[in-house]
Amino acid sequence: MSPRLRVLLLGLAALVLAPCALAVIAAMPEFGTAIAPYGARINAVAPAERNIANMVTAINFDLRGLDTLGEEFMLLAAVTGTVVLLRGRRGERDGDRAARLPGRAVVPRSEAVILACRIAGPLTALFGLYVTVHASLTPGGGFQGGAVLASACVLIYLGEGYAGWRRGVRSAVLDAIEGGGALLVVLCGLGPMLVGAAFMQNVLPFGTFGALLSGGLVLVANLGVAAAVTAGFSQLVLEFLEETRAPRPDGADGGDDA
């Protein structure tokens, strides 16, 4: 299909669909007037029912925890697919040099950058932990905290360079953390069944409203998601960076290990 024909088809589709879209937009409820009854009920009931201040966390890890379990495994599947596709071609061996483009000067990392990364890295990690553990109180939770923790992990690469990053961040450890996080979420579902409750029913004590340890099982599932997201994103960056690695001088790393 030629590019022109394709744009023409898109224009035709847009011409047909635009009136429909306009009709739908005109029939939408007035912006900012009312919210769906489900959300309104949760806002009214859940704080007292679960002693959680953050409704988004309550929904993600308790009221609709099953959905999060599904999301968790989508994440796991996407990361696994990425790793398998990249490693299938490259093999499991690793090098310790980043690739160099011929004819391009290599600017050494300045001390200011190293210092900035060494200061910002731990601070970012601390902030990520803070965001994670305060899931039931303030904006945050396993998904956001995990992403922040993974960016702290990437700061190691920026500050220490490729070799230091390779030594510090082990792929096998990340695999274990990610799988363990997903397992923890599954156990949060299966655990209550051991004591005769329903799947993912919140059986732990809820604590007091507004305390750090409030919400019962939510905290455990939250930690599991945080671990899986942290390791998943770090693993993605690690594997992509491996793609830019220099070949071994002895030619020991051909691309066909699959």
Binding site: V148, V237, E243, T244, G254, G255, D256, A258
Partner: protein, 89 residues
């Protein structure tokens, strides 16, 4: 408030358009990152701090970073190395 929200909506539409219209992938990365930032501001305006935090961490940092590294992998790709990898992968 009545001015800020419409402005943020328009800004996010504009930054999304920019991502599409910047055709060079290396430049598009920066448009993508800016788009993430604008969306995070919009989400804050819509009273969704959780989502804004997530968008800042993922849309502004993680995704552009992965795209940048992928571009780096394309650039440093070594044609000679690949000679035999076609048939048995």
């Amino acid at each position: 408030m009545s001015v800020v929200l419409p402005l943020l909506f328009l800004l996010s539409a504009a930054s999304g358009t920019l991502v599409v219209l910047v055709r060079e992938p290396r430049r598009q990365v920066f448009a993508l990152s800016a788009n993430g930032l604008v969306l995070a501001l919009l989400f804050t305006g819509l009273q969704a701090p959780d989502v804004a935090l997530s968008e800042i961490a993922v849309g502004t940092v993680a995704v552009p970073l992965i795209v940048l590294v992928a571009l780096g992998a394309v650039r440093t790709d070594r044609p000679g190395q690949d000679a035999g990898s076609g048939e048995n992968v």
